[in-house]
Symmetry: C2
Subunit: 339 residues, 2 copies
DNA sequence: CTTGGCACTCGATTGACCGGAGTGCCAGGA
DNA sequence: TCCTGGCACTCCGGTCAATCGAGTGCCAAG
C-alpha cells in the first residue's frame, strides 16, 4: 500500500512541518527535498497518505499536516534516534558534574533536560521501592515516638515519625534498631517484607508486640505507600508552541501540576530500557491529548530507579528529543550508581 | 486636589475594570454606581484623575483603566480587606484539617490558596533559621561519615550527610550527640552560634578538634546556608488572565520557576504581620512587572515562620485576595504552632 | 460647580475584493 | 501502469472603504 516513496513523502512532510509550523504543500516539498518527481506526483502520494489517515489538511486549499497516526509511523519506522552533538555532551557533563547530593542531581537534571529539549522536563526521584537500603536509623524521640530515617543506595533520605500506642525504653529501641538494621541492610525495599518475615519469631519475647506494630507501620509507610517525588522544569517552554492554541495551555498546565498524573506518565512504560513515545490522543491523560510525551527509565539495567522525560507539542523534533532524553537518563543513571 | 467624589470615581473605575476587564466609560459608570451626578461631571473628574496619573486610556475614544498608581491608591485608601465568606472559611477548614505532616500542610495550603484566590499561590516552608530545635540527632553512618537530622518545632525535618577528615568512634559520636543536643534543644537556630560558643572549651580534650570541625560544618549548613523550600500551585490560573497578553506569560512562568525569585518575593516584606501588596512596576523582579503580588508572613507573631502569597494580574480583586491570603496565613500559622 | 449639548476621534465590525498557495482531476506521454 | 503538465476550483488571508458607536473634550448656560 505504501511504497518507499510515499513513506519518503511522509517523512518530508513531518520534517518540514516540525521545523516550519506551517502546512506543507506539494510544490515546495518536491523542490526542497530531492525527490526527483513532480509536484503532481507528490500530490497523488499525498492523497494516498491521506486516505490511509497519516496526514490531513486543515482546509481545502491548504497544505498537509501529519496526524497522530502519521507521527506514530514516523517515529516507529522513519526516524532514528539522533545521537547528541559534542556541544550537547559537554553541556550535560558540565551541568551535572557539580551536583552535591541527590536533590541536587535531580534538580540539575530536570533543568538540563528542559534546556536541551526546549520542552517541559519531568524527572522522577529514584523510586523508594526499587532502591535498596544503605542505612536505616531508628531514633527515640519520645517514649512513644520514633523517628525512622532511611537512606537508600541512591542517596535518597526519607524520614517518618511514628506515633506508637505503647511506650518504649531506650533499650527496646536499641533492640529494634539492631533487629531491623541487620535484616534490611543492603536489601531492596521491595524485598523488605520477606527479609523481615522471620523477625517476630526471632525477637525477644518482651518486645514482640511493639516490634510487630512497628514493623507493620514501617512496611506500610515505606513499602506499601512509598512517597514518590517528581521534579518539573521548563513550563515556560510551553508558551513557545502553544500560543497558537492558547486554549490547550490550561489543561496542560493543570495536568502538569498533578503528581499523580506525572507518575502515571513515567510509570506506564513497559520496557523501561528503551525510549518510549506517546503521541497526542495516545495519551491516557486527559489534558495531554494535544501533546506528545517522551519517556525513558534510568538506573542500572536502564530503568531500576525511576523515569524521566519531556512533554511537548505533537509537532516536536522526535529524533532529537528522544536522543536527548536517553542521553540524560544514561548520565543520571551512572551518576547515581556511582554515588 | 482629589475630593471625595473623585476618589469615589476612582474606586468605581477600579472595581468595574477588575470585574469586566474592559475600559470603563463615564456613562455606564454614572449609571451603575449611584453617584448622583451626570456623566459629564464624571468626565471632569476622570480628566483630573488622569492628570494626576491614577488612570489612563488606551486610545482617545476608549474608557479609562487604572494605572499602577491608581491601584496603589485604591489599595491604600479605598479598599478594606474583605473578610472571608462562611463558605470560604469552611473550605479552609476542611481542606487543611486532614494534614498529617508538614509537607502535607504546605502542599494543601498552597493548593487551597490557589483555589481560593484563583491565582498562582506560593507558600514558603517554615524557615529553618527562624525555627527552633525540637530534636537534633547525630547518626554514625561510617567512621568518617555522620548523618545529621534536625527536627524543628514546626515539624520540618532536615538532614545532611557530613564527610569528616578524621575518623570517629561510636563513643566520640555519643559525646557529640550529648554536647550538641543539650545546648541546642529548644533553641532557635538563629541563636545556635551563641548557644554553641562555649562548647569547645567545655568538651573533653580528646574530641575538641573533631568537635570544632563538626560544629563549623553544622553551623554552616544549617545556619549560614539554610535550605529554603517553596511550594507553588495554580500556574494554570495564569491562562485565565494573561491570554489577552500572551507575551507576558513566558517571563512570568520563568520567574516562577526560580526559587530565588520566589524567596525574594516573600522575603521583601518589612512588617510580616500585615498583608503586603506589590503592584506592577513596583516589583523588583523583572518579569513580574506586569503582575501584582500579595504576600504576608505566617507563624507566631504573624511572621516568624515564613511567608506566603499569590501572584496575579494587576487587575485583580485586591480586597478579596488580601483577605484570603491573610486568612490562610492565620490558619497555617495556628496549625503549625499547635503541631 | 454641575450639566446638557455637540463636534470629534478612533477602534471595531462588516462586506467586497483580490492574490496566491494549494488541491483534485484529467488526458497525454513514457 | 505510472508519471507529468495543464487547468479549473477552493478557500485563506490581507487590504480597503464604509459605517457604527462608545467615549471624549470643551463650552456655554443654569
Amino acid at each position: 500500500m505504501l511504497d518507499d516513496r510515499k513513506l519518503e513523502v511522509l517523512r518530508a512532510i513531518v520534517e518540514d512541518f516540525v521545523s516550519t509550523t506551517e502546512p506543507v504543500g506539494s510544490k515546495s516539498l518536491a523542490e526542497r527535498h530531492g525527490l526527483g518527481v513532480s509536484p503532481a506526483t507528490v500530490r497523488n502520494d499525498m492523497a494516498a497518505l491521506e486516505d490511509e489517515g497519516y496526514i490531513t489538511h486543515p482546509h481545502t486549499s491548504a497544505g498537509r499536516i501529519p496526524t497522530d497516526k502519521g507521527y506514530r509511523l514516523f517515529v516507529d519506522q522513519l526516524s532514528t534516534v539522533k545521537p547528541l552533538s559534542p556541544a550537547e555532551r559537554r553541556a550535560i557533563q558540565s551541568f551535572l558534574e557539580g551536583a552535591v547530593d541527590l536533590d541536587d542531581v535531580v534538580r540539575r537534571s530536570v533543568r538540563l533536560l528542559a534546556q536541551l529539549t526546549r520542552q517541559v522536563a519531568v524527572v522522577q526521584y529514584p523510586s523508594l521501592s526499587r532502591s535498596s537500603v544503605r542505612h536505616l536509623e531508628i531514633v527515640h524521640l519520645a517514649p512513644n515516638r520514633l523517628l525512622l530515617v532511611l537512606i537508600t543506595d541512591t542517596g535518597r533520605v526519607e524520614q517518618r515519625v511514628l506515633e506508637l500506642a505503647t511506650t518504649l525504653s531506650d533499650h527496646d529501641v536499641a533492640l529494634l534498631r539492631q533487629a531491623f538494621g541487620s535484616r534490611l541492610h543492603g536489601a531492596r525495599l521491595v524485598d523488605a517484607p520477606a527479609a523481615l518475615s522471620d523477625l517476630p519469631d526471632a525477637a525477644p519475647m518482651a518486645i514482640r508486640p511493639v516490634l510487630t506494630s512497628v514493623m507493620s507501620v514501617v512496611l506500610e509507610t515505606l513499602v506499601d505507600q512509598p512517597e514518590e517525588r517528581i521534579a518539573l522544569a521548563g513550563t515556560a517552554n510551553l508558551t513557545r508552541h502553544l500560543l497558537d492554541f492558547p486554549q490547550t495551555l490550561r489543561p496542560v498546565l493543570e495536568a502538569l501540576e498533578e503528581q499523580v498524573v506525572l507518575l502515571k506518565l513515567l510509570g506506564e512504560v513497559n520496557d523501561p530500557t528503551t525510549v518510549h513515545v506517546k503521541i497526542g490522543e495516545e495519551n491516557n491523560v486527559e489534558g495531554l491529548r494535544s501533546t506528545s510525551v517522551v519517556t525513558v527509565g534510568y538506573g542500572p539495567d536502564g530503568g531500576a530507579y525511576g523515569g524521566l522525560g519531556v512533554v511537548g507539542p505533537t509537532r516536536m523534533d522526535y529524533a532529537g528529543n528522544m536522543g536527548q532524553v536517553r542521553a540524560v537518563a544514561r548520565y543520571v543513571g551512572e551518576l547515581l550508581a556511582g554515588a
